[in-house]
Amino acid sequence: MIKLRDIIIIICLLGAAAGIYIYNDKGEGSRVQIDYDGYKYAEIEFMAFADDEEQRIHINGTTVVIDKYGAYFAHSDCKDKICVRSGKINRVGQTVVCLPLRVSIRIEGEKAEFDGITG
């Protein structure tokens, strides 16, 4: 049932997963980009928001809420609600996608831009 190679495969995969995670982590982001149908729809700087300030964006049946500490899907008309259950994101590169409605939100930061060029 389990052979030596299975254990090697599992260790390699978990190592790769940890490596990708650490490599991808670029700290807290400063703005959120909202894409619809694969194209950029909006970009919002949330770092400079006041404590109780929040912005709601309604797009194709979803509601994206952005506050000082990040962004999340507050509501979605889709069936599975995976995007809503994903919760709030605030680290650079973190992404939540509502596949059925083709809306995605992604956190951006200054450092990510440079990594995008060099890496």
Partner: protein, 167 residues
């Protein structure tokens, strides 16, 4: 096995795969798992088919199951189901039917789960943008857990049914 027996068994397994995946959809999402991650119970059925019948019978099940998904959950889910099912079934079939294979059932289950998720992630990237690759490390970790579980169940299924057939 007679042709008719094969066809009947294939049809039964196809119905089982559809029923299992529908039942799985009713389960609440698992704790500590990335959103959208599933156990992949119907993969057990397709892998079992690939081992006991042939890879073509298994792919027939994948297509039937995807059509069921198309009717019940729409086009996006259809492409996700078809791409994931196709890639993982082909890879699992190759690994399962190798003589003197050095990879055990757990390794096969994990490899198939990774293939399933990676194919779906690629489709998701085409539909939206490459941001979905942020999910990759979480999906790999989830695949190791779910693939091990499906691998163990597949091993038990195959040993039990082989024993019955020979005994």
């Amino acid at each position: 096995m007679k042709k008719l027996n094969k066809l009947t068994l294939n049809a039964l397994l196809a119905a089982l795969a559809v029923a299992v995946s529908a039942a799985e959809g009713l389960l609440p999402s698992m704790a500590f798992m990335p959103p959208g991650a599933k156990l992949g119970l119907s993969n057990i059925v397709t892998m079992y088919t690939a081992k006991t019948l042939s890879v073509y019978n298994a792919l027939a099940i994948v297509i039937l199951k995807s059509l069921f998904v198309l009717v019940t959950r729409g086009a996006t889910a259809f492409f996700m189901s078809l791409s994931g099912g196709f890639v993982s079934t082909v890879i699992a079939a190759i690994l399962l039917n190798r003589k003197n294979g050095k990879i055990g059932y757990i390794g096969i289950g994990v490899t198939a789960a990774i293939a399933h998720n990676t194919a779906q992630l690629l489709i998701a990237a085409v539909i939206t943008n490459d941001g979905v690759f942020y999910y990759l490390p979480f999906l790999i970790a989830a695949s190791v857990a779910t693939g091990s579980a499906t691998g163990v169940i597949l091993y038990l299924l195959i040993t039990v049914t082989e024993k019955r057939r020979s005994g």
